[in-house]
Amino acid sequence: MTKKNAMWMLALLFLASPMIFAQADPADTSAIAQAHTQWKAIAAGFSMAIASGLCALAQAKAVAAVAEGTARNPGAADAIRFALILGLALIESMALYTFVIIFVKVL
């Protein structure tokens, strides 16, 4: 699936959501709770996927920069490696914040 198709599908999903919410009967709490659970699951899946994807892109940029920097200047390899380890750990923690929110709010 191309990026454009994926964006269209996401937009359709967002546009369709008010219709689903509008059809829920206010007196029937179990159906609303079930719908909420289903939407929470979908939201959790999407948010974790987006967070992990962006985290992976950022870490890829970091690793690419380190590889090129070390290739240009092998003498600075230690300092570059230090920046790499620190940067990777901090970027990883950003994706993990999303994971924590899912576990606290959704499950």
Binding site: I85, L86, A89, L90, E92, S93, L96, Y97, F99, V100
Partner: protein
């Protein structure tokens, strides 16, 4: 999620429930049937291991014939000293003790989860919040001690005085975000490591999650190192003297 008790926690709860209720009563919590939580007993176990390790080391310290344990501890100390001097330059020896202790404590807390029958206390947000709040108080107190109250508070105003109304809220928010990020980073890494192992155990068969436990060991070292590094960076930022 229901918490199952480890055998150590069961031992504590069966025999020392009164002590547990007394200790929680000191801070105003109501007494419960089984007051000891898993992470409390695991933390105590890690503290005991550290104390025993250094109690074994002390009589074996020798300048002429150092043993294996002394070599390992000297390597570790050399590593701490190198890191401290990279981050904190002039004042490194004063603050090395706390940073090294945090590294060893967090590392052993993380690694003890690999042992079957025990779980990492750093898997609960309470423990990591404790370490992060301790670090927060430490670097602020150290900054106040090194710079004096007025000059330390002047740090919050930023580089030029007329930016102060903008800088002070930003600085306060970033300082408050530091223990939060330390907490969540360590907790989420350890918790995610365990969850990934459990989920893959459910999905595949018995020995496959060993790969994830190996990853968990690597992540344990990395997260302990990052915690210590960030502590050193915060201390360095707090004690820097403006020349």
């Amino acid at each position: 999620m229901p918490e199952t008790e480890l055998w150590i926690t069961k031992l504590f709860n069966d025999n020392l429930a009164g002590l547990g209720n007394t200790l929680t009563g000191l801070v105003g919590m109501a007494p419960e049937a089984r007051p000891w939580a898993n992470f409390v007993t695991m933390e105590l176990l890690v503290a005991l291991i550290i104390v025993v390790l250094f109690a074994i080391l002390k009589p074996r310290l020798s300048a002429d014939r150092p043993g294996g344990l002394q070599h390992t501890c000297e390597l570790l100390y050399g590593f701490f000293k190198q890191q401290a001097e990279d981050q904190m330059r002039h004042d490194a020896p004063h603050y090395l003790a706390y940073c090294g202790t945090i590294f060893i404590f967090v590392l052993l807390c993380n690694l003890i989860g690999i042992v079957p029958g025990m779980e990492s206390p750093t898997m609960t947000p309470s423990v990591t919040a404790g370490c992060a709040i301790a670090t927060f108080f430490y670097y602020n107190l150290v900054g106040l001690q090194a710079n004096g109250v007025l000059k330390y508070l002047a740090h919050f105003a930023g580089p030029v005085w007329w930016l102060a109304p903008l800088m002070i809220p930003i600085e306060i928010a970033s300082h408050l975000a530091r223990p939060l990020s330390l907490t969540i980073r360590l907790f989420a890494n350890m918790f995610a490591g365990e969850q990934v192992t459990v989920v893959f155990l459910k999905l595949t068969f018995f020995l496959v999650p060993v790969v994830f436990m190996g990853l968990h060991v690597f992540v344990s070292f990395l997260q302990a190192y990052v915690f210590m590094l960030l502590t050193m960076m915060y201390v360095a930022g707090a004690v820097e003297h403006e020349h």
